[in-house]
Subunit: 244 residues, 2 copies
């Protein structure tokens, strides 16, 4: 009997911000797995389900457990915050999938923090943008710095995931310093904390000011391109439409 | 009386792929506006509504009409495909908004083609990526080429929107030629046509092969980074987890 593993993006966090498809899949599955924090975000809406949660940093084990559960012929949903294909578990699940040929896998996309956070700030990502994680747990710092530099040179809007954690306090400052070689200190930037959840907080500021803030792992950072503007309280990157 | 303008992302196209919030907002508004093709995608689900559609290329007029309707004190929803903040109307609406101070604006995010198309192909965007539109209607071609080159140099996965149209037949080829200066001809690439709609078609191929395909404006293109792999039929970019 074939089992099914759905890798489901729940979006920024609030139940309403997941897709209708994601809610249906979670409703129809036998068991919901995932990192404790994400499962807790949606648990109240799917009370009849069996839940299986794993703590942070045990990604390989988490994915294997989900695949093994599905291999028994069950319908398993693994939840990820945002989109499971953006720094999420869809990649690792598919890397492991050849070892579980009896499991059918489907990725159900969700609203990633770039889009959810962008909507909270206004419209920072209207034009070409680069998404970069500053976490060096799995990526060497020199690769990250090279990417920040390339994105700055290409005048991309930058959307930064994982800008800092307790161990990585100076990383956002370093990224800003790289971008400052190519862009004005007055470049319009924004931060969003707890996107689409209780305690959502936005701020729009200059690149110079961004350099000195203390971000945390629940914050997504946006660095505007050379045309990004502050309009009222909004951060907006024009696409180039002519209007009076 | 304050009016409301909701700029609503409907995701890739199928009703199920919009968020619960987007569906609620469309249900609660008085009038739904937007580009004819997008309004047609969702019209059947909101039969009682008043609809107002405008043809392609009349973006400024489309946004002004929506703002003027809202300024009358109505609740207006403007629908965009994907996410309204990624090459969508959220930017232009906010640029025009100071002229309509009585209108409250809210951007409701959706699943953009990068995420929806990524899920269809597997997990191409698991690591840092750049989103670039090849449309030169509003952006000079030299800026686009510079960005393609910067993204290639930075070893970003590239996600390309608007890879071609009747008038821009050779643009994807040109972009591939730029990337080929930095990456192997065997780099894993993918295309998705009609994401999440009837007639969805995926293909995984080499960068060398991608160079010679004829894409159209309904196609989203993914160019892998130096670690992207083909696993079974999937396109997967590893993040770097160690697994046996």
């Amino acid at each position: 009997m074939a089992g099914y593993l759905y890798v489901v993006g729940i979006g920024p966090g609030a139940y309403e911000k997941m897709t209708i498809e994601a809610a249906r899949v979670l409703e129809e599955c036998d068991v919901i797995t995932g990192y404790t924090v994400y499962v807790d975000l949606i648990k109240d809406h799917f009370k009849e389900k069996e839940f299986f949660t794993t703590p942070m940093r045990q990604e390989v084990e988490r994915c294997r457990t989900a695949l093994e559960e599905a291999a028994k012929g069950r319908r398993v949903a693994m939840v990820c915050s945002g989109d499971p294909g953006v720094y999420g578990m869809a990649g690792l699940i598919l890397e492991l999938s050849p070892q579980y040929p009896e499991v059918k896998i489907q990725v159900i996309s969700g609203v990633t923090a770039a889009c959810g956070g962008g909507a909270a700030l206004g419209a920072p990502l209207i034009h070409d943008f680069a998404v970069i994680s500053l976490s060096d747990l799995l990526t060497p710092m020199e690769v990250i710095e090279k990417r920040v530099q390339a994105a700055a040179e290409g005048d991309f809007v930058l959307c930064i995931y994982n800008p800092a954690s307790k161990k990585r306090a100076g990383y956002l400052k370093r990224a800003c310093e790289i971008v400052l070689k190519y862009r004005s200190p007055q470049t319009v930037c924004g931060t969003v904390k707890n996107i689409g959840r209780q305690g959502e907080e936005m701020a729009v500021m200059s690149l110079e000011a961004l350099k000195d803030i203390q971000a945390d792992m629940f914050t997504t950072v946006f660095i505007g391109n050379s045309s990004t503007k502050k309009i009222g309280e909004y951060m907006v990157t024009p696409r180039g439409y002519r209007h009076g």
